[in-house]
């Protein structure tokens, strides 16, 4: 296969970073905003008291809320970023959806450790980001070689950066972290393999296009 790199048309910078189409990008931003708001509200609700009693004691319904929150976080880590990438490209939003829950924890509690939760957010966010670049290449050019299209450079560079960070995070969890955490992360952590493969292929075609 010999892809010819297009140097034109020059699209506005960053078009493919957030998403391929405006309306779908707004849907992604909306999801990100709602996710962040729900996680912030839940985190604060366990830290808020009314007349000395935590508000979570007011009703057993709070257990249902926390159950729903955990499902929302699980979906936002493993499923929604990939769905968004397939739906609209947009590596930045796909990545942010996966890491937003843990970043909210950092902002609200001041604590951030390289736990399985955070590491898998980084790793799945990176996978979705790389996938998003391929989706954009396919939707815009009918090609599965994002490296062959200059206007995807930004998206390819961003997804490469987060893929490196995610891979380093996973490696650190294995090398420096406790073995039980590494064991829990392992079945999902294999997603770095296709992530790195797609990045490598993207850059191979990018260098060939030079």
């Amino acid at each position: 296969m010999n892809y010819r790199r297009f140097s034109l048309p020059a699209q506005p910078l960053g078009t493919h970073l957030l998403g391929d189409t405006r309306l779908r990008t707004l849907v992604g931003i909306g999801y990100l905003v709602v996710l962040t708001a729900v996680v912030v509200a839940s985190t604060l609700s366990t830290r808020t008291t009314v007349a000395g009693a935590p508000i979570a004691t007011l009703s057993p319904a709070f257990d249902t809320l926390f159950w729903a929150l955990i499902i929302l976080v699980v979906l936002s880590t493993f499923v929604v970023p990939i769905v968004y990438a397939l739906f609209n490209g947009g590596p930045v939003i796909a990545f942010l959806i996966a890491v937003a829950p843990e970043l909210v924890v950092y902002v609200t509690t001041g604590t951030l450790h390289l736990t399985p939760d955070f590491t898998l957010g980084l790793v799945f966010g990176a996978f979705a980001a790389v996938l998003a670049v391929y989706v954009s290449a396919y939707r815009s050019y009918g090609s599965l070689s994002p490296g062959s299209h200059a206007d995807l450079d930004d998206a390819l560079l961003f997804s490469t950066a987060v893929a490196v960070v995610g891979t380093v995070a996973l490696a650190r969890l294995y090398v420096e972290g406790p073995s039980s955490m590494a064991a829990r992360t392992e079945p999902y952590g294999v997603v770095v393999v296709p992530t790195v493969a797609m990045i490598a292929y993207g850059w191979m075609m990018r260098l060939r296009a030079e």
């Binding site: 140097s7 839940s42 985190t43 366990t46 830290r47 009693a53 935590p54 979570a56 004691t57 057993p60 709070f62 257990d63 926390f66 159950w67 929150l69 955990i70 499902i71 976080v73 699980v74 880590t77 493993f78 829950p101 843990e102 924890v105 509690t109 604590t111 951030l112 450790h113 390289l114 736990t115 399985p116 939760d117 955070f118 898998l120 200059a150 450079d153 930004d154 560079l157 961003f158 490469t160 950066a161 987060v162 490196v164 960070v165 380093v168 995070a169 650190r172 969890l173 420096e176 972290g177 406790p178 073995s179 039980s180 955490m181 829990r184 992360t185 999902y188 030079e210």
Partner: protein
Amino acid sequence: MTGRRDFLRKAAIAGVGTAAGVFALPSTPEASDALMSDERSPSANATDQSLSVTAEDTSPYALWQYKKRDDGYAPTSPINAVFPLSETERGLDDVMDVLFDAGWYSLPVEYVRYAWNRKRETYEHQQATAAETFYGTVGRRHVRCWELEGAVSMQAHEDTAATPSHGIESYRQAQRRIEQLFDEAGWTVDESQRFANEKSPDHHGHVTVIRP
């Protein structure tokens, strides 16, 4: 040429961003997560003990943690570590600090549970909680604590992955981890008591007693 220079500029920015991202990565919470060994674990070497706590009102220790339901409170998980601190300088905060120093999160996402307070004759909301990870998407160790009459009662368990809700993977594994953590922190972990709170999958009623 402009396109190439432009690309190199962006690549340099991405490289700096990548390095900054890697540099900004936080450390892992604990270097080790060893469990107390079978030989040293007081809860593992207590097969012939007679029951010491048989009901909620017989001791300052709580026996169970409870879930609030529309028709009252139902026991869910057994208390499996206790800290007799009434005659010491230490309290609940000192117990929790051992966990926080090991990198556990305070007030993670969790359900609301209660313990029986015999003095006030009421079910009391969890007073302090901690977990290895905030959400526990792929499982975690998690504790809830109450300080009642100067004694801390702890419920420790290992959660399953949230698929979609958390279940109990093990009580014993978390109890052994707590034994190890407090042993490493210089507390005395050489005693157990038998509570009437056996619960599947693996709690046999042997409750670890931890002293400063």
